[in-house]
Symmetry: C2
Subunit: 457 residues, 2 copies
Amino acid sequence: VSARENRDLIGRLQQIVGGEHVLTSRDILGSYETDWTRRFSGSALAAVRPASTAEVAAVLAACNEAGVAVVPQGGNTGLVGGSVPRAGEVVLSTRRLAQVESFDPVARELTAGAGVTAAQANALAAAHGLQLGVDLASRDSATVGGMAATNAGGIHVVRHGMMRSQVIGLEAVLANGGVVDRMFGVVRDNTGYDLANLLVGSEGTLGVITRVRLRLVAVERRRAVALLGLDSVEEAIGVALAARNGLPGLNAAEIFFAPGMELVCSAMGLTPPFEKRFPVYVLIEAAGAGEVAEGLAAFLEGSARAAASAFATDARDCARLWAYRERHTEAINTAGVPHKLDIALPLGRMAEFVREVGPVVRSLDPGGREILFGHVADGNLHVNLLGFEPDDERPDDAILRMVAGLGGSISAEHGVGVAKRQWLHLTRSAADIAAMAAIKRALDPRGILNPGVIIPA
Amino acid sequence: VSARENRDLIGRLQQIVGGEHVLTSRDILGSYETDWTRRFSGSALAAVRPASTAEVAAVLAACNEAGVAVVPQGGNTGLVGGSVPRAGEVVLSTRRLAQVESFDPVARELTAGAGVTAAQANALAAAHGLQLGVDLASRDSATVGGMAATNAGGIHVVRHGMMRSQVIGLEAVLANGGVVDRMFGVVRDNTGYDLANLLVGSEGTLGVITRVRLRLVAVERRRAVALLGLDSVEEAIGVALAARNGLPGLNAAEIFFAPGMELVCSAMGLTPPFEKRFPVYVLIEAAGAGEVAEGLAAFLEGSARAAASAFATDARDCARLWAYRERHTEAINTAGVPHKLDIALPLGRMAEFVREVGPVVRSLDPGGREILFGHVADGNLHVNLLGFEPDDERPDDAILRMVAGLGGSISAEHGVGVAKRQWLHLTRSAADIAAMAAIKRALDPRGILNPGVIIPA
């Protein structure tokens, strides 16, 4: 595409969305060109900010005709480089699709433009005792459209499922500008292929999600948290499965380990919870309208006896226990720039992984260290590696191969983006990748939607 | 394809699966050529019964190369003609993929070949107090693969979701014989496009599902059922939403109407539940391990006061109340051969639909009548039309147009098959249908997989 053609395209985009919503100045473009991790960045031809589905459709049709690639961008809080430009693409920001169109507190659902943030949706829902089923640390910036496009997860997946389970309808614009309206619903609508679920998690490569219809869940009035010190991963899994099967109102089941606990306590100045050091810690949260504390206490007495445990029911004490888990990311950042992997394992193989990951890391660099934490009932671990250069792919490669060898997932919740595409073949057969590539070509024959994301070139 | 080429293909199929598993005799083929409704039938070139994923792959590769179409068939209990041949296809029966490969009562999941029936899976799970999350009247014949391929629903969707929500892993063979292995899981695995959810509900047009990994749910020990006589659809929806939001252990919320109640009572010889006739009836079932009867009683007292209600907690009384709802299909069949539509409506439009459906039916034939029943919390109604010739498409057309006009779904749980494809455009935009057709061509370029199903020619 020549400079002249680029200028022509920008002129067309200005006609579609208005001059002030086509950004081309380098100083303004900066925030669209770099994601929040600052690990991924590239330069954009322009950032365009459509305000309606029709404008998104016209923008995509114009870019498709011009053969200029488009990077859809919501809150730009992804972790795999899928929402920033790489080589002069047009960034299509969904942030002006920011209207909540309807909110039904009785049916417990909300219909919103893709650019509404999780925090905005929750603020509205909270007035009726409701919230989104998915919660994320990036809630103030993350958009509901971006959360759908990346199938976001978080700590409440054990209760409410991933973002996929929250999306009961969606609208998207395809590469050619065609609009797919699946707003009626996903649950009771067996009318042809489930394009909604195909678009969820497709990371902007098959279409731009413009509207979502989301289910809401109750904000539970009562909460109780237990932190357990345990001797093994097997015990932790046993506790988590027992909680999933028998603890009313299970809201979270998180796992972390001695090195993380020690780093959090030292870096954040927290007092360790127990006198003794344990190799494994599990945090269980129950929430509900009924006898939540009693239920959790009975569970601890019956199914989850631990050598050491702490128990909290008021907000302050709950937050104090949660801090050991939640401040991991912050504490890790004080110790260096980590490589972050987001993997899942069959529960029966998780102990093996935890045992072997240290030796593998040290075999690459004796000074390397790993801090793990995650969502134990789902087999999902966040692997943070310290002591490696940012561009050193060896530890990522070694660990993702180990995960694949154990029958796990190389990306449990963050997606593939550009960061993981080279490892896609580890867990996807040639037939599977060929099928994904064929679908990509079928829906986006000119390859303008987020090229380079998910599917390796 | 010439007779000679057909003979060559049959020879190859015999080599792949063994001679006795390639059926070509007309008398044996009969049961593969007609579905259980007897509404749909056609003739097959052969029925082939592979016993492994590798055999399915070889069968599809051979048929693909020969350019001979394949109709995948599980229990053959569909309602839209998607599992029987139409014009000399090869029927690929999955019934020999009948092994339960693993069963984990603690993780509450089961991995099974596609040909395992729902009843077989439930029998195994029941020994550990577990069951599939989806239950159907056709449970003795319906296979788990077919239930996944058609995204089956049923009465427990309000609690556990459709079959899509039960499938935590899946393996399928594509048209070219390539194998897609997504057995690791669907929940915490954001590694590329969600082919598993694309295959679920694709009715055998994109691949043949060969294995599934399913979540299981607890068989609840205690059950309580209430039958309410109500004055309006609005009241019924109010009760259903209140139950969904606040009744612990809500297991089913069914709706039916005076004409159905009267037909069931007269045709099945049941005593009406109440002295007074009500226009609308709602059946609520709660199930759980705790104080289920007390919870349902408190709910009826607080949120669902009705002029008339019946309450049951022991198995026999529960069955007696369920009979008014469950025996609808049987009672309708005594009155004629119904046209069966399976639609869903936005809850806010359901009353309007119920009001208008009768006049529409009578405008086509003064002797026509409609019996409705369904799953009220999901907006799903089964519309049974009596008094029309089997081939008369006018009532189907009129009602599906009405549903589309109200923003509903023309197929809530049965799928599209061949029966609904001509109405697909009522609720799917041209861009949407073009996207589905493009995906079909991408994964099945020669169009051998269940041609004519879902996508109009």
